[in-house]
């Protein structure tokens, strides 16, 4: 379950404190960065980090960098950003009570998006637990329903194995966050370090073993290929599981080999190169019109590592109405048949499943060129578009200009709101793990700390926090963290003077009553804020004519840079499938061509295949 440890740990048999053991296990797990904030109940372990780093002064690469945020929520999202960008387990460490409760949001966020992080929380001493002690919070109870797993270390002898096991659980199967609550007296306890050993979880280990061995049988592949043979209009729907399962390369081969176009969920963006001609970008509530039309038209929907979230499926009974067959590959058995019942399914790793099908399908031939032609037509006819003549700066235009600079190769982090959806729609993404966004929880304030975490994982890559003014306010304190550690994150705030996404719903469904969402009278000066936090590049842009050159100078600035772009506050996100509606009811706005019902060239077979 844990990193393989063939040779004896050099410190095995040595006496040390619990705190030192924690750090030794982190080192063993390859942790190079810890995000966190100290305090009474975690002091011993912070001290152990300090001493560990002094001992490894000679070899900086063995040291563990400590990144201190403004708020523990920031630390959590930094760890998550690190994990999302790199695929490695992100680590954050906080004290008890308020620090632990500040960490609930990033833990839940990581659970909802299947991100492997480990949180180490200090806790009051064992003798004080349950006594309403100073800075005591019921971490086990609060975190349990939010995390993949929570440990409260009751026996100091178990501490070492617990930390190792936490990493194993975080990264295995469907990844997720693991919390370790460590009472202060356990950190101060002294015992013998073993250098190996994990806690046993029989059922879980068996299930993980079964998953690892779950290869597709030739008959099962044949069944799949048979469905593919029978279909005329197959479509792949790729989700975050393709990315976390490291299956993007195989998905690309698969799509090319069989000539099957691909739509992705928000979490699946980057699993295929969005500039590829078989890529249709994102589906769902704010999916591209052509992706959603393709979902309506397809007769075989192959879902991989995705789960028909309500923002994807809309009205479930009407989702993919012409799909005669549905296939579903997922590592999580609980997702199969949860929303849609399927014709063919496989529980296991996406990568192996794709490899197996490609292997069995070596000589498979079926000409989908008519369908591909149709897809090409959809992409052309229903291309994303906006008011290009507008005097005001249009958010879409900002992204198009950025694409010319980044060439689809940047790591883009976002807040939550309209800007997030524009980012998902308009940015080009050549690689997996390059859109970091709070998909399932939709947590405003995610973008900046996530960008800091991603930059720590990849110091030399271009990391952009593409944020909204509302979301930016949520974790504004992390501006200072960016300059403190001299991280060259490029922060761009699309300022539409408020909570644009909510305003869009208020415009549509609440008679334009902008309750609580209009911030036009606020006195915030983002540029001064950034300057005060040490940004040497902090600029506000109003003038459309200067957009390109400003973006160029902003991106090429060495070091942290902050750019506020005043955009058209009326700009909306289109297309939009209203909440609980079917794709038929998709609104495309004034600039994207929608199609009339007759234009859906394929006959309705009207065979809904939904479960509950």
């Amino acid at each position: 379950m844990s990193a393989q440890m063939n040779k004896r740990h050099p410190l095995a048999g040595k006496r040390m404190t619990g705190a030192e053991m924690i750090i030794q296990v982190l080192a063993q797990e390859g942790v190079d960065t810890i995000f966190g904030y100290t305090g009474g109940a975690i002091l011993p372990t912070y001290d152990a980090i300090f001493r560990y780093n002094i001992e490894h002064e000679a070899n900086k690469s063995e040291q563990m960098q400590l990144i201190v945020p403004a708020n523990e929520q920031g630390a959590g999202f930094m760890a998550a950003g690190y994990a999302r960008a790199s695929g490695k387990v992100g680590v954050f460490m906080v004290t008890s009570g308020p620090a632990a409760t500040n960490s609930v949001t990033p833990i839940r966020d990581s659970m909802a998006d299947s991100v492997p992080v480990v949180l180490i929380c200090g806790q009051v001493a064992r003798s004080a637990i349950g006594s309403d002690a100073f800075q005591e919070a019921p971490v086990f109870n609060v975190m349990s329903p939010c995390a993949k797993h929570v440990f409260l270390v009751e026996e100091p002898e178990d501490l070492e194995a617990t930390v190792r096991t936490a990493f194993g659980i975080a990264r295995s199967g469907r990844p997720g966050p693991v919390v370790i609550d460590v009472p202060k007296d356990v950190q101060n306890w002294e015992g013998v370090f073993k250098g190996e050993g994990i806690l046993r979880f029989r059922g879980y280990e068996n299930r993980m073993k079964a998953l690892a061995e779950a290869r597709l049988l030739p008959e099962e592949c044949a069944e799949f290929l048979n469905l593919l043979k029978k279909s005329e209009r197959p479509l792949i729907c790729a989700g975050g599981g393709v990315i976390s399962g490291e299956a993007a390369v195989h998905l690309r081969q698969f799509s090319e080999k069989f000539q099957i176009p691909v739509v992705t969920t928000l979490m699946g963006i980057g699993s295929v190169d969005t500039t590829n001609e078989l890529s249709l970008h994102m589906l769902g509530m704010h999916g591209t019109a052509y992706a959603n039309y393709a979902v309506m038209d397809c007769d075989f929907l192959i879902t991989i590592g995705a789960r028909f979230d309500d923002r994807v499926a809309g009205k479930v009974q009407e989702f993919a109405p012409n799909a005669r067959f549905l296939a579903h590959i997922d590592i999580d058995a609980a997702e199969i048949g949860k929303v849609k019942s399927v014709t063919w399914s496989h529980v296991g790793s996406a990568r192996e499943a794709l490899i197996d099908i490609m292997q069995e399908g070596k000589s498979f031939k079926k000409d989908f060129s008519k369908w591909i032609e149709h897809i090409r037509g959809l992409k052309k006819q229903h291309i994303l578009n906006y008011d290009r003549e507008s005097e005001k700066i249009q958010p879409y235009h900002v992204i198009e200009c950025l694409n010319e600079i980044t060439l689809g190769d940047a790591i883009i982090c976002t807040g939550v709101g309209q800007h997030q959806m524009w980012a998902a729609q308009y940015f080009n993404f050549k690689n997996p793990r390059s859109l970091l966004t709070s998909g399932s929880m939709g947590t405003m304030g995610f973008g900046l700390p996530a960008a800091i975490g991603a930059q720590m994982a990849f110091p030399d890559r271009l990391v952009i926090d593409f944020d909204g003014d509302g979301s930016m306010r949520m974790n504004l304190g992390e501006l200072e963290t960016t300059t403190t550690y001299e991280l060259p994150v490029k922060i761009i705030v699309l300022n539409n003077l408020g909570d644009g996404m909510v305003r869009q719903w208020q415009r549509l469904y609440f008679g334009k009553r902008f309750s609580g969402t209009d911030k036009s009278l606020r006195r915030k000066n983002f540029v001064k804020t950034a300057e005060a936090d040490g940004f040497e590049y902090a600029v506000r842009l109003n003038d459309k004519a200067k957009l390109k050159e400003t973006l160029q100078e902003f991106i090429s600035f060495k070091g942290p840079a902050f750019l506020e772009v005043m955009i058209d506050p009326e700009a909306d996100v289109y297309p939009m499938v209203g909440p609980g509606m079917g794709y038929q009811e998709m609104m495309t706005g004034d600039y994207i061509v929608s199609r009339t019902s007759e234009e859906g060239i394929f006959e309705k077979t009207s065979k809904p295949s939904e479960s509950f």
Partner: protein, 180 residues
């Protein structure tokens, strides 16, 4: 979604209750985590028993929940994902025996004692203790039997009652249907 065809006559199942058997590692907090998966969806647990199993490291949770079969399957799948879960199954429509034990204190005035005892005999209910006013009965059986007994003694006047909640076991090895 669930219709009467889901009911197994042997289980004496009143509508839409599911008997779930969950084998877990005997560790801190496991029960609350599992119970939480039900409460998070607004499902009330009708009865719950937790005790050791044939394996010293493992506990067996038997839970009766009022919900539809498909939903129970869904929740069991979630339960089956918890690291501490060894196995989670729905026993409702399977070949299993189930028992519950009830202690009930019934009004037993002198003149009614004979009939009360005769009726109790039908259910093999035992008198475990008595006072001049009351009998305390112990009865064991599946839900049908227990309910029938309670219906019979109710007219005499039930003072107080405790029930263990249901436990269930497969009649034969390998008869389980898994939560997956």
């Amino acid at each position: 979604m669930t219709d009467s065809s889901f009911q197994d006559p042997r289980s004496n199942n009143t509508q839409n209750t599911r008997t779930l058997s969950i084998l877990v590692e005997n560790r801190f907090g496991v029960l609350s985590r599992i119970a939480g998966l039900f409460s998070a969806r607004g499902y009330n647990i009708e009865s719950l028993t937790v005790a050791g199993s044939s394996d010293p490291g493992l506990s067996c949770i038997t839970m009766v929940v009022r919900c539809e079969a498909l939903l129970a399957q869904q929740i069991l799948k979630q339960v089956n994902k918890l690291p501490n879960t060894v196995e989670a199954v729905d026993l409702t429509d399977t070949n299993c025996v189930e028992r519950e034990l009830v202690l009930v204190r019934v009004h037993a005035p002198e003149e009614k004692r004979t009939t009360l005892l005769t009726e109790a005999e039908i259910f093999r209910a035992r008198v475990v203790t008595a006072t001049p006013e009351n009998y305390v009965f112990e009865v064991t059986g599946d839900s049908g039997k227990v309910e029938a007994f309670l219906d019979v003694v109710r007219p005499y006047g039930i003072d107080e009652m405790v029930r263990t909640g249901k436990v269930a076991l497969h009649r034969a090895l390998g008869a389980k249907t898994s939560g997956n």
